[in-house]
């Protein structure tokens, strides 16, 4: 069986490119895979697998291919407004954007879209994308969905998606001995990796860290990642008196990132609102056996309580976060061991690749198999006077015989 594989790949700088670089070799051991390339003819295959994320530059061509041929979609995040805006308005096709808004919210959506096109409303994908996910364009063409969380699967179902959904864990990078970076230090050293913006709760993290540092003056915070536009990290650090307690690094290559993470005692990965995304950084942190603090939301909230510390996003977020940092600093080794055990148990690459192979094999052939089985059942039923084919199909589905 042959799978056409659509995904950004390194050197593209995206989490999904890293994900595919990890998954592909393991998947190739289980099924025949041909990797599709942008601008080239779609490869012939029994089933196509489309990795869809929110970045139009990385994923626009993949959605184009999906439109031409339905297939299994790996929905890396549920909110796709930025992607849809990019492949509609970004290509000068405002009408398609209006269609997508109408698909989601009816006439009200179309009117909102008009407001955006006419510059009467702020850009919704920047200001409140979580309210208008625009996943429908993709769901309509998905023959099946791979999701990483019950949260995304649930949102797809709530949006009316009736196809098959496979929940497959984000694969973990194989454990390796990583030498901690020697040029960063703290007692303890707290690390936060990824794009720095409001959505990652950086202001809340800085406030909580300032409080935490009040009782632990040797603590340092390592912020690794580019800062978002209109997000002045330096000014915030000054205001909180944290200029000597925080070290900032811009984008770092993969190897350097691992060694920086390995040097940290505690890692923090917060979100609000969630777009339904997973986080490669979180998986890396768990693999390294680090004490980890996350927001209690979406996929992050589904991580086990004994493996991570979860901070609810509420009016006490800063205080809870400061307390969580203290707990993580005190119980780092125990938390880290539980984290590593969890990721080895649930996110092991071979098991993830097995689950992908199972999903793809089912997706490629199960329609034909279901049809054949249902046909024979219906034929036999008709011979004894039962002609309610829909009821038979329902019975077969409920009994687990067909999908």
């Amino acid at each position: 069986m042959k799978v056409a594989y659509y995904s950004p790949l390194p050197p593209s700088r995206s989490g999904i490119a890293d994900y595919s670089a990890l998954l592909l070799p393991a998947l190739r051991e289980r099924v025949e895979v041909v990797v599709a390339e942008p601008g080239k003819r779609a490869p012939a295959a029994d089933v196509a697998l489309y990795h869809v994320g929110n970045d139009p530059d990385a994923h626009g061509w993949i959605v184009d291919a999906l439109r031409k041929r339905p297939g299994v979609v790996v929905l890396h995040e549920y909110v796709l407004h930025h992607l849809i805006a990019g492949i509609t308005i970004g290509r000068g096709d405002g009408r398609a954007y209006l269609d997508a808004m109408e698909r989601e919210l009816g006439v009200a959506g179309r009117l909102l879209g008009l407001g955006v096109l006419d510059n009467l409303l702020p850009l919704l994908w920047e200001t409140q994308p979580e309210r208008f996910p625009l996943a429908g364009t993709v769901l309509d063409r998905a023959h099946g969905l791979v999701v990483h969380s019950a949260y995304v699967g649930g949102r797809a179902r709530a949006a009316g998606y009736a196809g098959r959904i496979w929940q497959i864990p984000h694969p973990a990078w194989p454990a390796a001995e990583i030498a901690p970076a020697g040029d960063v230090s703290g007692d303890p050293l707290v690390g936060c990796f990824g794009y720095l913006n409001m959505n990652k709760r950086i202001p809340e993290l800085l406030e909580a860290f300032a409080a935490f540092r009040g009782s632990r003056p040797g603590a340092r915070l390592l912020l690794v990642g580019a800062a978002g536009e209109r997000f002045d990290v330096e000014r915030r650090l000054e205001r909180l008196g944290l200029t000597d307690g925080v070290q900032r690094l811009d984008y770092v290559p993969e190897e350097r990132m691992w060694s920086l993470m390995a040097a940290c005692d505690v890692l923090v990965n917060l979100r609000y609102p969630t777009m339904g995304e997973t986080s490669g950084s979180v998986i890396r942190a768990l693999s390294l056996g680090k004490a980890l603090v996350v927001s209690d939301i979406g996929w992050f909230g589904e991580l086990p309580d004994d493996a991570v510390l979860k901070v609810p996003v509420d009016e006490y977020e800063v205080q809870t976060l400061a307390a969580a940092l203290e707990l993580a600093a005190q119980h780092g080794p125990a938390l880290g061991a539980a984290a590593r055990a969890y990721v080895e148990r649930e996110h092991a690459l071979p098991a993830v690749a097995d689950a992908y192979a199972a999903a793809l094999e089912s997706a490629a052939g199960s329609d034909a198999v279901d049809d054949a089985v249902l046909w024979r059942i219906a034929e036999a039923a008709a011979e004894v006077g039962i002609d309610d084919v829909a009821a038979l199909a329902r019975a077969a589905r409920e009994s687990g015989i067909v999908t």
């Binding site: 069986m1 029994d46 089933v47 199972a358 094999e361 089912s362 490629a364 052939g365 199960s366 034909a368 198999v369 054949a372 089985v373 024979r376 059942i377 019975a395 077969a396 009994s399 687990g400 015989i401 067909v402 999908t403």
Partner: protein, 339 residues
């Protein structure tokens, strides 16, 4: 208690699984329960037909019979364990192995076509559903339990079953090696014949019938009667062969459970098997209860010749096997299945 024992039936084929189901019904009745064997013919090919068969079991209503409730269902094999019942216990002899460890081997059934691959996955999914419904899942051997864990993530308790009831006894060995098995390729009786060819002092009696008989008889030609095909033998004749043999050869490929070693042990005879035999290795321990060798004729010839030359050791290993086999009783099985 009213108990329905559910097992598939392959018309005109009778082997260990059928014996075990019959014996279970008898054991339940002996202990004062109302027990009945419920069976449906099983044909697993071509293509997705295997799913039709599973659907038949899903349609069977065993909640009650003749107005009286059925208290428990004990199902032994795919697709019988697809039956629905609030008090279902699965005692798994084996799954539909073509979808698992046989897949992509010469014993497999499914090609690389998308429909065949999807059918295989459907069997896998169905096993998850059907066995997931069971109140308890037992496996007849560690080998079967390991497969359930590896392929389906289902934890099963190991519960071996006693072999068929025969007049087991041990007599002075007459020097021949006995094979008790269905004659098909997976049982690897050809290795034993090749071993006899290599070792002039060996003599074997092969019981059983099966599709491989003609080929095996061809392989055994010209050996001056040192290989005897006894065909299907009755209970008394089989007990007699067990009693008189020197040792029993049993080397199927990755067998689920393997009743034959228990039968051999109950006659206090050692077993010659191979390192890849699967279930039998749970009781056949090298130079304790038999000999375990590589699946090669030369190794099997050497093992059998050793036993011919060391009869006292053969007897001692047989007695050690007897102690193991005597611990597996129907009382223990029935208690576990109905608890």
């Amino acid at each position: 208690m009213r108990v329905a024992v559910c097992a598939p039936q392959v018309p005109f084929v009778r082997g260990g699984a059928e014996l075990m189901a019959d014996d279970l019904v008898a054991a339940l009745r002996t202990r004062g329960h109302e027990a009945e064997l419920v069976t449906i013919p099983f044909k697993w090919y071509p293509g997705s037909r295997v799913l039709d068969q599973a659907f038949l079991w899903r349609l069977v209503d065993l909640a009650e019979s003749d107005g009286r409730p059925i208290d428990r269902v004990i199902a032994t094999k795919f697709p019988a364990y697809c039956v629905r019942h609030p008090h279902k216990v699965a005692w798994v002899l084996h799954q539909f192995r073509q979808a698992y460890d046989y897949d992509r081997t010469e014993l497999g059934q499914f090609s690389e076509s998308p429909a065949d691959r999807a059918t295989r996955r459907a069997v896998e999914r169905l096993d998850g559903v059907a066995l997931g419904e069971a109140q308890r899942v037992f496996a007849t051997s560690r080998n079967v339990a390991d497969r359930l864990e590896r392929f389906n993530g289902i934890a099963a308790e190991v519960l071996p079953h006693p072999p068929q009831t025969l007049d087991y006894r041990s007599e002075e060995p007459e020097g021949f090696i006995l094979s008790v098995n269905r004659l098909d390729r997976a049982k690897r009786i050809d290795l034993l014949i090749a071993a006899v060819k290599r070792e002039p002092g060996l003599r074997v009696v092969i019981t059983g019938e099966g599709p491989d008989r003609e080929r095996l008889e061809g392989l055994a030609a010209g050996m001056n009667g040192r290989v005897e095909f006894a065909g299907r033998v009755g209970d008394a004749a089989l007990a007699d062969l067990y009693a008189r043999c020197l040792a029993v050869y049993y080397a199927p490929l990755d067998e689920d459970f393997g009743m034959v070693p228990y039968e051999a042990f109950l006659a206090a005879k050692p077993v010659v098997t191979t390192v890849d035999a699967g279930g039998p290795l749970e009781v056949v321990h090298d130079r304790e209860t038999g000999i375990v060798v590589a699946p090669e004729a030369v190794e099997i010839a050497r093992a059998c010749a050793y036993l011919v030359a060391h009869v006292d050791e053969a007897k001692a290993w047989g007695r050690a096997g007897l102690a193991i086999a005597e611990r597996v009783t129907w009382d223990a099985c029935v208690d576990a299945l109905l608890s």
